[in-house]
């Protein structure tokens, strides 16, 4: 299990990186944290002839937080984003999702942007981006462009990025005021890719009625699948929301498949169970958010 030979570049400017990558054409690959790419290279499932190591590029290792959301540079490691208290306050779903990504040692090296570009339909961070309606900033030979999450994920391990483009950052918008989020999943072992996972965002108005709710599903569709739950739950207070109707909406949309770890039926079942759990947790978080800081005791037990 040793990788094939390749030509190695470690440019120190983004322009150089884009140029080298463009020159390499279809044989070129970007190396970020390597936590997905190098296992594949070690197994010779991937054998790029040219590797452009972006780890020396300046300025890409920063997390920028403003009132609108969080911008995550391409060299920000999962761990650094997880540890960023401001980012966690602004977009709590980041930390909620990151804690489910592999184990800390992998998160110490792997990048959040790399994970999104890798576009594994079982990965958590693509779902976070998709659920929040975020976007990717990508740089190519013809300049910089922004690609919305809905256009970004086109298939398993496939994205809307063109050959020769480098992702520079990911932008995670802050959910609307009164929102709460949650990420729940069932994996075989701790740290494994999930058999099914659901990220949810629930928004409440001043009367604590649900005004918006969405879920995003991993491991049950070719891409992180966002399902709008408004039809099932909008207008209800969390305690009396019809979560099984929400689960029905999900059931209609997911396309689970059998594999050695779980049958399609079981995954579909988990999608239902986790829809209810995720929405309940997100609503709970929204209630806390709406109530502001301080002790809070509104009963939402009925939702479980």
């Amino acid at each position: 299990m040793k990788p094939s030979a390749f030509t190695y570049h470690a440019p120190t400017s983004l322009d150089d990186a884009v140029r080298v990558l463009a020159e390499a054409g279809p044989d070129g690959k970007v190396l970020a944290g390597g936590q997905s790419l190098i296992p594949m290279m070690n197994m010779r499932l991937a054998a790029p002839a040219v590797l452009v190591d972006i780890n020396r590029l300046p300025g890409l290792d920063t997390v920028r937080v403003d009132t609108g959301g969080v911008r995550v540079g391409a060299l920000v490691r999962h761990t650094d984003l997880e540890d960023d208290a401001q980012a966690a306050r602004t977009v709590p779903l980041l930390r909620q999702g990151l804690r489910l990504v592999a184990h800390p040692v992998i998160r110490n090296r792997g990048t959040t942007v790399g994970s999104i570009v890798h576009a594994d339909p079982s990965a958590e961070m693509p779902a976070v981006l998709a659920l929040l309606g975020g976007s990717m900033e990508v740089r190519g030979p013809s300049g910089t462009r922004s690609v919305g999450a809905a256009d970004f994920f086109t298939g398993p391990l496939e994205t809307g990025m063109a050959e020769g483009e480098i992702a520079v950052s990911a932008y995670f918008p802050r959910p609307a005021p009164g929102s709460g989020t949650a990420f729940v999943e069932i994996a075989r072992r701790s740290g494994d890719y999930a058999m099914c996972g659901v990220a949810a965002v629930v928004t409440l108005d001043a009367d604590l009625r649900i005004t918006a709710a969405r879920c995003c599903y991993i491991s049950v569709a070719p891409v992180p699948l966002v399902v709008d739950m408004a039809e099932a739950v909008v207008g209800a207070v969390p305690a009396s929301a019809d979560l099984s109707a929400a689960a029905d909406l999900a059931a209609d949309r997911i396309e689970p498949e059998d594999d050695i770890h779980a049958s399609a039926d079981y995954r579909a079942h988990l999608a239902r169970v986790l829809t209810e759990r995720a929405l309940a947790e997100a609503a709970e978080a929204a209630l806390r958010e709406t109530a502001g800081p301080g002790p809070h005791t509104t009963g939402i037990g009925a939702m479980r």
Binding site: M1, K2, P3, S4, A5, M43, R44, I186, R188, R189, S190, G191, D192, Y193, M195, I260, H261, A262, S263, D265, Y266, H269, L270, V273
Partner: protein, 811 residues
Amino acid sequence: MSTRLLGAPVQRTEDRRLTTGGGSFLDDLGSDACAAAFVRSPHAHARIRDIDVMDALDVDGLIAVYTYDDLTGPMAEPLPLLIPHPSIIDGRTPYALAREYVHHVGEPVAMVVARDRYAAEDAVERIRVDYEILDAVVGVEKAMQADRIVHEGMADNVAAHLVQEVGDAPAAIGAAPNTLELDLEIERSASIPMEGRGVYARWDSARGGGLRLYSSTQTATGVRAAVAAKLELQLGQVEVVVPDVGGGFGLKIVHPWPEEVMVPWAARQLDREIKWTEDRREHFVASAHERGQQQRVRVGFDDGGRILGLDVQILHDNGAYLPYGVIVPIVTSTQLLGPYKPGAYRVEFHSLYTTTAIVTPYRGAGRPQGVFAMERTMDAIADHLGKDRVDVRAANVIKPDEMPYDQGMLFQDGRPLIYDSGDYPKMLRMITDLVGWDDFEEYREQARAQGRRVGIGLACYVEGTGPGPYEGGHVQVETSGKVRVATGLTSQGQGHETALAQVVADKLGVPMSDIEVTTGDTRRMGYSVGTFASRGAVTSGSAVAMATVRLRDKVLKIAADALEADPGDLEIIDGRVQVKGSPAQGMELGTVAVLSNPLRYAFDAASAAATQFSGAADYDRPPVPEDEAPGLEGTDFYSPLRCTFASGAHAVIVETDPATAEVRILRYCVVHDCGNLINPTLVEGQVHGGVAQGVAGALYERMAYDEGGQLLNASFMDFLMPYASEVPRIEIDHLETPSPLNPLGVKGAGEAGVIPASAAIAAAVEDAEGFRIDQMPISPSELFHLRRRHARGEIASVPRRPAHRSLTKEN
């Protein structure tokens, strides 16, 4: 003030090097060696039409490529069938490199030697093999159907067939007031040590040639004999040294592997050092698996739950070849009986070829399957009669006053299956006390009130350990007073260096820090068998104890002469021989070692004392008396009459998630009897590790072959070896019934922890869910589907279990 070291929780001597990066594992050696890699079959069954190496030849760093056509003499013959058995009908073994056919994915087809492993893999990638693809045979049903045949020239896929009978079981079952029939199955899994296999060879062409071979193996002498035979060398020309080994769990007892003969063979061909370090992907497809077995049980029993007759039919998946014979189904057949008296017993197995990796013993070696059959049967009997599950076991166990108990069969060592000692009623009492069996219904009610589902299960086993033929021990006192100990068998983490040092320290009277133990080095001990079947402590422990006693006698004799005292009046304390009661009168062990070797030439002050003019001599006898040898050493061999039988019981409490069908182990309790404990810390470590593998086999691990014979989960991403997050805390209680068969009174402890886990966990899940669990492992997805089938009435409920035992603790 000699504190007993035997039985003490002494810290390990191995740990200093292993915690500082100072271990030397196979791949840590031979920094200048070239690397080997293998072209392996991507198909489960195929005929090789052509191998084209042209493209590989210009790979930078390539040294050589070999295929079957390069092999001659014994190397061109199949590898040996290590354990022939009369039940084997057609024993096929692989060639070192595939000759014409390949019979499983991963089978070596060509060997590449190159500058390093990177270059070797480059060359492997460029070698093109043209295959004619043949039918795969996966699973014992397909193998038994025999409409596709694995091996050319065979009419079916039956490698071996054996029927063993004690009494007339069919008649006893026919006459019994109650009968049951059960199908019980365990899937494939494997040892999967963290370090894979590895071989490093150095050929020395001087003086007729000599081979130094390092291998990550469980048997140094076995590898030496096998490699010598293949390479047509004398045993004296081959040295096998086993470095630190990163786990074995049975897998590394197999020898010689194809790679284990190819590497030294090529080293001689090229007159270069060559090393092969198995990578993880190779390990999954090209080493060995175990466990896959289907078992049909028919049982007849009386109204008290006593078994009157037991009839078991076993279909055993032995994979593509049979290099290790049929030890696994033989062990299942015999050890299935556990602590019980079955009345009449009939067991029949078919060992079947399939186009999958070979099957050889993995820790437990057929026992987990057998215990699963027997213990699931016990639970079924209890449910049939509406009795408590412990009561039914209590009604069937052998009582202490029936020991030694002859089960009337031959065991895997070819000797009678006679249990030497054990206290099974007490074992049952201890496990039910430890887990709180009688309080469980109350706990279940509380949990139910909270919407939680919990269940309890238990399983017992008996394990024949420490089989022969023998092991040896060699103990030598250096003139420095240091003691060097050697035994032939090898270590894979059991802590033999510490345990054997404890034996020597205890029996000789020297501090642990003065003892150095070597295992698995044919230069130090040429006669040995290997490490398997929980035999290290029993066989090598006993041999070293016996050798130490011999050595001690010699020490006392020489010291008595020098001190003009009676040997009976001497004692050895902390490395010093002294007269009891007057410690000033004595000498250091090192001095005794000097005196034991009469010298002509002095090379230092100590040795001067042993030269011819140094003191009074007895002119009536030669300097080395008749029947004596110079030097202060003792050698002895222990050859057990037969196995000694360890035993134990596990009890498990699980919680199953009503929504997601995940299984969580809340408590895992173990009662364990391996006779006298040399070091309780080491034994508990063995139990922990065994239980972890048991839990793994019950809830996580399997070898997922598809119909075409591809292993779908050949990586740690998909072969779900548990992390710390998946293994429960383990509670242990020890029972010590010494073995009367060996001088230390010990029984083996290496495998026990794994044996009853699947049975106990299945019982607990069944108890939580209310329907039978007859197949393991079980994943949440599978439990989910069982629930559905149960809800649809396709599988029967287990009756509600009695809250209290009738036979209680007086038993």
